[in-house]
C-alpha cells in the first residue's frame, strides 16, 4: 500500500468521500442481508470498484479483504485449455472473463457454475450466497453475455452477481433488465479537490487549492488519475507551487500532437504519417475508442463551429463501425481522412469567399 491511491482508499461505505447518498442507499440495500444482482457502471476512475468492495465488506465483514490470487485452468469443450487468474476471498470471487478473449463464454459458464453450485456450509453464521464479481462486462462477447442470462436466474439462491463495466451500451438488454443498475458518476471538481487536500493533509503535505483544482481539471475528474498526478507532482517538486507543471500521460500528449498534425495539413502524405501515429497508439494498448474520443475532442476545439456537428456525427459513425469491425486502424484512418476532406473543403471555401 504504497501509492496514495492504494493507501488512502476508503474501505467502508461510511468512509466514502463523495456520492454519500448513494453510499447510504447501498448500505440500506445490504442491511437486510440480501440484495439483487448488481450492475455497477460508470466512467473509469469514478470509484466503482471501491464502492463494490465497501459493499462486500459491509456484507461479509473484514474477511473479504483477505484476498488471494488463484490460477484456474478450464478446459473448453474443444479441448482447449484456458488459463485465467481470479481474485478470491472466502466470500467472493472476482473474474475478468474478457481476459480469456474469445473463449470467455466457457469461462463464464464453468466458473460461475462451480461457484454457484457449491452450497455454503455453516449457513447459520454466513450468508447463504457467495458473490461473483465480473469486471469489464462490456468487453465480453455476445455469446458470453447470453451464457450469463440463464445462469443468473438459475443460481439465484446461492450466488449473486455484481457486474462492473464502463458503459451499459455494450451489455445486452436481457442482462440489464436482470440487474439493479447502479451508476457511479465521476466526482465533481470540488469533490476531487477535497479528496486531494484530504490525502495531502494525511501525508503531512500542504496542497494549494489552486493546484488541486488544476490537477482535478487536468485529470478529467478521474480520481485515480488525479491522485497519481498529485503524487507525481509531489515527487517532482515539494513544497508545491500553484503554477507548477502537472505531469501528463504520454499518450495524451501524443494524441494531441496527432490531432494538430491532422489540422495543420491535409494530404495523403500527412495521412500516411497519421497512420503511423495511430499504429503507435494502438500498439501501446490504447483502446481505439479512447483514441477516437481523444481525437474528436482535440479536433473539435480546433475547428469552426459550423463543422462541429458534422465532425461529431462522423466520429459517432466511425466509432460505430469500429465496434462492428475488427481492424481498428481502418476505421480510425477513415475518420481522419473524412475529417481532412471536410476540413480542407471548408478552408478552401473560406478562401474563395
Amino acid at each position: 500500500m504504497s501509492l496514495w491511491v492504494d493507501k488512502y482508499r476508503p474501505t467502508s461505505l461510511g468512509k466514502l468521500d463523495y456520492h454519500k447518498e448513494q453510499a447510504n442507499q447501498l448500505k440500506n440495500l445490504v442491511q437486510c442481508g440480501d440484495f439483487p444482482h448488481l450492475l455497477v457502471y460508470g466512467p473509469s476512475g469514478a470509484g466503482k470498484k471501491t464502492r463494490i468492495m465497501c459493499l462486500l465488506r459491509e456484507l461479509y465483514g473484514p474477511g473479504v479483504e483477505k484476498l488471494r490470487i488463484e490460477h484456474q485452468s478450464i478446459t473448453a469443450p474443444s479441448k482447449k485449455k484456458i488459463e485465467i487468474n481470479t481474485i478470491a476471498s472466502n466470500y467472493h470471487l472476482e473474474v475478468n472473463a474478457s481476459d480469456a478473449g474469445n473463449s470467455d463464454r466457457v469461462v463464464i459458464q464453468e466458473l460461475i457454475k462451480t461457484v454457484a453450485q457449491s452450497q455454503q456450509i455453516q449457513s447459520s453464521t454466513q450468508k447463504e450466497f457467495k458473490v461473483v464479481l465480473l469486471t469489464e462486462v462490456d468487453r465480453l462477447t455476445k455469446d458470453a453475455q447470453h451464457a450469463l442470462r440463464r445462469t443468473m436466474e438459475k443460481y439465484m439462491s446461492t450466488c449473486r452477481l455484481i457486474l462492473c463495466c464502463n458503459s451499459t451500451s455494450k451489455v445486452i438488454a436481457p442482462i440489464r433488465s436482470r440487474c439493479l443498475a447502479v451508476r457511479v458518476p465521476l466526482p465533481s471538481v470540488e469533490e476531487v479537490c477535497s479528496v486531494l487536500t484530504g490525502v495531502c493533509r494525511k501525508e503531512g503535505l500542504l496542497l494549494p487549492g489552486e493546484l488541486a483544482k488544476q490537477i482535478a481539471e487536468k485529470s478529467g475528474r478521474n480520481l485515480r488519475k488525479a491522485l497519481l498526478m498529485c503524487e507525481a507532482c509531489r515527487v517532482q517538486q515539494y513544497p508545491f507551487s500553484s503554477d507548477q507543471d502537472i505531469p501528463e500521460t504520454d499518450w495524451e500528449v501524443y494524441l494531441r500532437e496527432t490531432a494538430n498534425a491532422i489540422v495543420s495539413q491535409q494530404s495523403p502524405q500527412r495521412l500516411l504519417e497519421v497512420r503511423a501515429r495511430l499504429y503507435e497508439l494502438l500498439t501501446h494498448c490504447i483502446p481505439p475508442e479512447i483514441i477516437i474520443k481523444g481525437l474528436v475532442s482535440e479536433l473539435l476545439s480546433n475547428c469552426d463551429g459550423h463543422l462541429k456537428a458534422e465532425v461529431a456525427q462522423l466520429a459517432a459513425y466511425y466509432e460505430h463501425r469500429l465496434q462492428l469491425g475488427s481492424k481498428a486502424i481502418y476505421h480510425l484512418e477513415a475518420f481522419v481522412a473524412k475529417f481532412m476532406a471536410i476540413y480542407k473543403k471548408f478552408m478552401e471555401d473560406g478562401l474563395m469567399a
Binding site: 491511491v5 494502438l282 462492428l324
Partner: protein, 974 residues
C-alpha cells in the same frame, strides 16, 4: 537433308553442345538390340536390302547420303519413304514383334526398326567409299562403316533436332506404305488421289495384313483422304520449314556454344527421330478419339520437348551425372557383348570429371560441374523441377529419364503419401529393379506434385538422402574397398536419381528439400514454339487454325501447353473445324483459374492495362468501339474481380492495398478517393467480421469488390512500386510485446492491488504516473548518509516498486554501456517516440534502488517464512537449551560424540550401542534418554561444554573446506 550441314558446317558445334544427348541416344541404340531378335532381323537383312533396291530411288538417295552431300530436295524427299520402307516391311514380316510386345510404346518398336535400318545402312556403306574424314580418332576403333554412319548421323541428327520444332510426323511417314513407283516385288495396288497423282500401295501377305492391318490401311487411307494438299507440296513445305528452323537453331546454338571438340557420340542417333516418329505415328493410329489430345501428342522423345532448351539440357546433364554409379557396374558385365559401349564409357567419365561448360557461368551449370561424391553420385541427389502448371514438367521428367535409359517409376498425389508408404515406395524404387521381362533398366523415381505431400513424407525423403550418407561414411572410414564391396556393405545407399516436381517451390514443407536439391525453375514456354506445335496438331486433326488465332489462344492460357491443347480438342469436339481469333476470345474454356503472385495482383490493381498489341487487340478494340469507354472500364472491373477472387489470399491482398494506396501518385486534392477507399476498407472489414463471426460465408463473394474499387480509384499508367505489407504484422507483434510486459507486471502484483488494476487502466492512467512517482530526486550519496526524511522516502519508493512488481535489472547495451532497465520493461509501454524524454534516475541511484529492492524482498520472504511456522521456531528455541530433547532429533555431532564417549567410558553394553548406532532414528529416543545423563556428564567431562551444547559445531567433511555451519537468518545480516 545432308546438304544443310554441308552448307552451314555446324555439326561440330552441334556435337559439342549436345554431346550428352547424343551419347544417350547412341547408348540406347547399343543396348536395345539385346532385347530385339537380332538374329531374325539379320536373317531378313538381305530381303530388306533387296527391297530397298527394288524401290528404286531409295538406294540412290541413301548412297547420296554418303557420297553426294549436295543432293537436291527432291532426292531427299524420296529418301524418306525409303527409310521408312524397311519399316513397313519389317512390320509386315514380323508382326509378332509388335503384337507380342504388350505395349506399342515407342522405344521398343523404335529399336526394332532402327536395327533394320542400321543393317541396311551397313550394307550400303560397305561398297560406298567415304570421302568425309572420320570425325574423331575414336572412330577408328569402330568398323569403317560406322564412321560413315557417323557422318550421316550428325547430319540426320540435326535434321532431327529441327524436327522437334514442329515434328511434322505424319507428312513424311504417312507415306510409309505408299510408293510412287510400283514395287518391284510383291503385289501392289495403284491408287489415284483427288489431285490426280498416282501412287502404289504394296500388297502384303494376306495373313499379315489381317493381323497388322487395319492400322496400316487406316494410315494410308487417312493420309490420302484427309490431305487436301498433295503430299509433295506438303513435303516441300516441310522441308522448307525445316530448313529455316535449322538455320535458326544452328545460329542459336553457335551462339551458345564455346568451341569444344568432342566427337564422341552415337552413331545411329540421327536415325532415331525419324524412326521414333514412325513409332509415334503408330501410336497415333492406335489413339482413338477418346484419348485426350494432350496424351496423344505428348512428346515421346527428347527432341520433341517444347520446354526451354536450357532447362532440358540441365536436367539431362544432371541425370547423366548418375551414369557412373547407375550404369557403372553394368558396363563391366556387358563388356564382351558391346565393345563399343565400353569404348565410350571412359570418355564419358572423363567428360564428367572434367566438364567444360563455360558458356554461361551459371550456378546451375556449376552445380552440374561439381565433383561427384565418394560413391560417384552427383552432389545433389534430387532434382526439383518447379513451375506453373502446363509447362511440361512431368513430361520432361519422363522423357528425359527414359531417354537416359531409366525405367520411370512415378509417384504422385493420387497415391497415398503417408510417411511409411513413402518410405516403402522410395526404397522399392531406388533399391530394386525388375528382373523379369525385357525391362531391365534401372529405375528413376519421379515424385510428382511433391508440394502437396505432407511434411512427414518429405522428411522421409530427406532421411533417405542423408541418413544413408552417414552410414556410408562409416563404412568408408572402416576400410577401403572397391566400389563393389562398398555397395554390398551398404545396400541402402541411394544410388538412383530422384526427380521431384512441384508447382510452388516455396511451400513450407519443401524448405529442407530445397537446400539439398538441384533446383530447376521452368521458364514460360515460348509462344512461337507452342503455336507451331498447335498448328501442327490442328492440322493433323483437320482443324483450320491460323497462327493469329493460336497466338491468341496461347496468350489467353498464358502459354499453358495442356490448356491450349485441351481447348483445341474441346473446340474440335464441338464440331468446330475453323478457329479464328474471335472465337478464341469469346470462348471461356481456355481461361485458367490461375493463381498469380500477390505482387503481380497488386501491380495489376494499381496499374492501368497497357494497350494490347495490335494483332490480338483488334477484336478488343472493336469491342471498345462498340461499347465506348464504359465497356473497357467494365472489362477492367471484370478482370480485377476475376483476379481478386482467384487469388484467394484476400486478407493479404487487402492489407497490401491498404499499405500501398497512399504511396501511389494520387491526383486527388479533395481526398474524396482516399475517403471512399477507406470506407471500402472499413466495409470489407465489417464484412469479414460478419462472415467469420456468424459463419455467414455467402458474404464472402462481396470481398473481391474491394480490389476492383481500388483499381477504379487509383489505377494509373505508371508502374507502381509495391511494398510488401508488413505494417499490420508489425503492429500485431508490438502490441503483443506491450501486452506481455503488462501481463508480466500484473502477474506478481499482490491481490489487494491487483483487484483494482486492470490492464487498460494500467496503460491509460497508472503506468505513466507511476514512472514519475518512482523517479524521486535522490541525493547522489551513500544511502547511509541520508536524513531520516530521505530514508523514509527511499523506503516508500522501494515499497511502491515492490508492490507494483517493478525492479531494475542491469543490462548491457550494444555499445558496451551498462544500464539499469526497468523489469518488466513497462517503460516501452508508456513512452512514445518524438516526445521529450522523461527524467531518469542516475545509474548509481538505480543501482542503489535495485539493491534495496532485493534486500527488501529477502526481508519480506523471511518474514513470511517465519510467520508461516512460528510454532516450530518456538519449540526449537525451547528445546535447544536443554540439549538432546525428546522430540527434536539429536544433532549428528552430538550423537556421535555421545557414542564415542559411551564407547570409551561405558564399555559394558556393546550390543545396545551397536544397535543404537545402526538404527539411529528409531532407537534414538530410548538409548539417549537412558544414557542421556551418563553420556552428557561424560561428554561434558571429555569435550567440554562449549562444543556439546553450542549452536556452532564442527563436522569433518572430507574434501570440503566449508566445514563450519551455523543457522543464520537474513535479518541478522541486514
Amino acid at each position: 537433308m545432308d546438304e544443310y550441314d554441308e552448307m552451314y558446317g555446324i555439326e561440330d558445334d552441334f556435337e559439342q553442345q549436345f554431346a550428352d544427348e547424343l551419347e544417350v541416344m547412341a547408348e540406347m541404340d547399343y543396348e536395345s538390340p539385346r532385347h530385339t531378335k537380332v538374329s531374325e532381323l539379320r536373317s531378313k537383312k538381305p530381303l530388306s536390302f533387296e527391297d530397298a533396291i527394288a524401290s528404286g530411288d531409295i538406294v540412290q538417295s541413301s548412297k547420296s547420303v554418303a557420297r553426294h552431300p549436295g543432293s537436291s530436295d527432291a532426292q531427299q524427299i524420296t529418301a524418306k519413304p525409303g527409310k521408312s520402307l524397311p519399316h513397313s516391311l519389317d512390320d509386315s514380316e514380323f508382326p509378332e514383334h509388335l503384337l507380342d510386345s504388350d505395349n506399342f510404346q515407342s522405344p521398343k518398336a523404335k529399336r526394332q526398326r532402327l536395327d533394320v535400318a542400321k543393317k541396311l545402312q551397313f550394307t550400303l556403306s560397305n561398297d560406298g567409299d567415304n570421302i568425309t574424314p572420320p570425325s574423331s580418332p575414336e572412330d577408328y576403333s569402330r568398323s569403317k562403316s560406322s564412321s560413315v554412319q557417323t557422318v550421316t548421323t550428325s547430319a540426320l541428327d540435326i535434321s532431327g533436332l529441327a524436327e522437334l520444332q514442329e515434328s511434322p510426323r505424319r507428312v513424311p511417314t504417312a507415306t510409309g506404305h505408299v510408293l510412287r513407283r510400283p514395287p518391284p516385288t510383291g503385289d501392289y495396288i495403284s491408287v489415284t488421289d483427288s489431285s490426280g497423282n498416282r501412287v502404289y500401295l504394296a500388297k502384303k501377305e494376306e495373313s499379315t495384313v489381317r493381323a497388322v492391318d487395319s492400322r496400316a490401311l487406316r494410315d494410308s487411307h487417312y493420309s490420302l483422304g484427309l490431305l487436301s494438299v498433295p503430299i509433295e507440296v506438303l513435303r516441300e513445305q516441310v522441308a522448307e520449314r525445316r530448313h529455316q528452323q535449322l538455320v535458326e537453331e544452328s545460329q542459336r546454338l553457335t551462339e551458345m556454344l564455346n568451341s569444344r571438340v568432342d566427337e564422341e557420340f552415337g552413331e545411329m542417333d540421327g536415325r532415331e527421330p525419324e524412326v521414333e516418329e514412325e513409332a509415334a505415328e503408330d501410336e497415333d493410329q492406335d489413339g482413338t478419339a477418346s484419348r485426350l489430345w494432350v496424351d496423344r501428342f505428348s512428346p515421346q522423345h527428347y527432341t520433341e520437348l517444347l520446354s526451354d532448351d536450357f532447362t532440358n539440357r540441365c536436367l539431362l546433364k544432371w541425370l547423366k551425372l548418375w551414369d557412373t554409379v547407375v550404369f557403372g557396374r553394368e558396363k563391366s558385365v556387358k563388356k564382351p557383348k558391346h565393345p563399343q559401349a565400353d569404348n565410350r564409357l571412359p570418355l564419358q567419365q572423363k567428360d564428367q570429371q572434367n566438364p567444360r561448360f563455360k558458356t554461361k557461368t551459371q550456378i546451375t551449370e556449376e552445380i552440374l560441374e561439381a565433383e561427384l561424391d565418394q560413391y560417384q553420385r552427383p552432389k545433389y541427389k534430387v532434382a526439383l523441377l518447379s513451375g506453373p502448371p502446363g509447362l511440361g514438367k512431368t513430361t520432361l521428367a519422363h522423357v528425359i529419364a527414359r531417354h537416359a535409359g531409366y525405367n520411370v517409376v512415378e509417384m504422385n498425389a493420387s497415391d497415398d503419401r503417408s510417411a511409411e508408404l513413402f518410405q516403402k515406395r522410395i526404397d522399392t524404387a531406388t533399391q530394386m529393379k525388375s528382373v523379369l521381362g525385357a525391362n531391365e533398366k534401372p529405375n528413376c523415381l519421379v515424385i510428382d506434385e511433391i508440394d502437396g505431400a505432407p511434411t512427414a513424407a518429405i522428411n522421409v525423403l530427406l532421411a533417405t538422402l542423408n541418413r544413408k550418407e552417414s552410414r556410408e561414411a562409416d563404412t568408408e572410414a572402416a576400410g577401403i574397398g572397391t566400389l563393389k564391396k562398398k555397395k554390398k556393405k551398404t545396400e541402402s545407399v541411394l544410388l538412383r536419381p530422384i526427380i521431384c516436381i512441384c508447382n510452388d517451390l516455396y511451400v513450407p514443407a519443401l524448405r529442407q528439400l530445397r537446400q539439398q536439391a538441384f533446383i530447376l525453375t521452368f521458364p514460360q514456354t515460348q509462344p512461337s514454339r507452342l503455336v507451331q506445335r498447335l498448328t501442327e496438331i490442328s492440322r493433323r486433326q483437320g482443324m483450320k487454325a491460323d497462327s493469329g488465332a493460336l497466338m491468341a489462344l496461347c496468350e489467353k492460357t498464358e502459354n499453358d501447353i495442356r490448356s491450349c491443347i485441351n481447348t483445341l480438342q474441346f473446340l474440335h469436339g464441338k464440331g468446330q473445324k475453323q478457329l479464328d481469333q474471335r472465337m478464341v476470345q469469346s470462348v471461356t474454356v481456355g481461361l485458367k483459374d490461375q493463381n498469380k503472385g500477390l505482387f503481380s495482383v497488386w501491380q495489376e490493381i494499381f496499374q492501368l492495362p497497357r494497350v494490347k498489341r495490335k494483332r490480338i487487340g483488334e477484336v478488343l478494340s472493336l469491342g471498345a468501339e462498340h461499347g465506348g469507354q464504359s465497356s473497357t472500364a467494365a472489362q477492367r472491373l471484370q478482370h480485377i474481380l476475376h483476379l481478386a477472387s482467384s487469388s484467394g489470399e484476400h486478407e493479404k491482398l487487402t492489407q497490401g492495398l491498404y499499405d500501398n494506396f497512399l504511396s501511389m501518385k494520387l491526383k486527388d486534392p479533395s481526398l474524396r478517393g482516399v475517403c471512399s477507399a477507406l470506407d471500402w476498407l472499413g466495409f470489407s472489414d465489417i464484412l469479414n467480421e460478419a462472415t467469420l463471426h456468424n459463419q455467414n460465408f455467402s458474404l464472402m463473394r462481396y470481398l473481391p469488390f474491394l480490389p476492383a474499387a481500388f483499381h477504379l480509384l487509383f489505377a494509373a499508367t505508371t508502374v507502381p512500386r509495391i511494398n510488401y505489407p508488413n505494417s499490420h504484422y508489425e503492429a500485431l507483434t508490438r502490441t503483443q510485446h506491450t501486452r506481455n510486459a503488462l501481463v508480466a507486471m500484473l502477474a506478481e502484483i499482490p491481490p489487494s492491488i491487483r483487484s483494482r488494476v486492470g490492464m487498460s487502466c494500467l496503460s491509460l492512467d497508472i503506468l505513466s504516473m507511476l514512472l514519475e512517482v518512482i523517479c524521486p530526486k535522490l541525493r547522489p550519496v551513500n544511502p547511509q548518509l541520508y536524513s531520516v526524511r530521505e530514508k523514509q522516502q527511499l523506503v516508500e519508493l522501494v515499497d511502491t516498486m515492490l508492490s507494483y512488481n517493478l525492479t531494475y535489472r542491469q543490462d548491457r547495451s550494444p555499445e558496451g554501456q551498462y544500464l539499469y532497465l526497468l523489469e518488466p520493461n513497462v517503460e516501452e509501454v508508456v513512452r512514445f517516440p518524438g516526445l521529450p524524454p522523461r527524467r531518469q534516475l542516475t545509474y548509481q541511484a538505480k543501482q542503489m534502488i535495485a539493491r534495496e529492492i532485493e534486500l527488501e524482498r529477502m526481508r519480506r520472504a523471511e518474514a513470511m517464512l517465519q510467520a508461516r511456522n512460528p510454532q516450530r521456531k518456538e519449540e526449537k528455541e525451547k528445546n535447544d537449551p536443554q540439549g538432546g530433547g525428546q522430540k527434536l532429533p539429536i544433532r549428528n555431532h552430538q550423537q556421535r560424540l555421545e557414542n564415542i564417549v559411551k564407547q570409551t567410558v561405558v564399555d559394558t553394553r556393546p550390543e545396545v550401542d551397536f544397535f543404537g548406532r545402526a538404527i539411529e532414528p528409531k532407537g534414538k529416543p530410548v538409548p539417549s534418554a537412558a544414557a542421556g545423563d551418563v553420556g552428557k556428564v561424560g561428554m561434558e567431562l571429555q569435550i567440554g561444554k562449549a562444543v556439546g551444547n553450542s549452536d556452532v559445531w564442527f563436522r569433518f567433511n572430507e574434501g570440503v573446506s566449508n566445514a563450519v555451519r551455523r543457522n543464520i537468518y537474513i535479518k541478522e545480516l541486514l
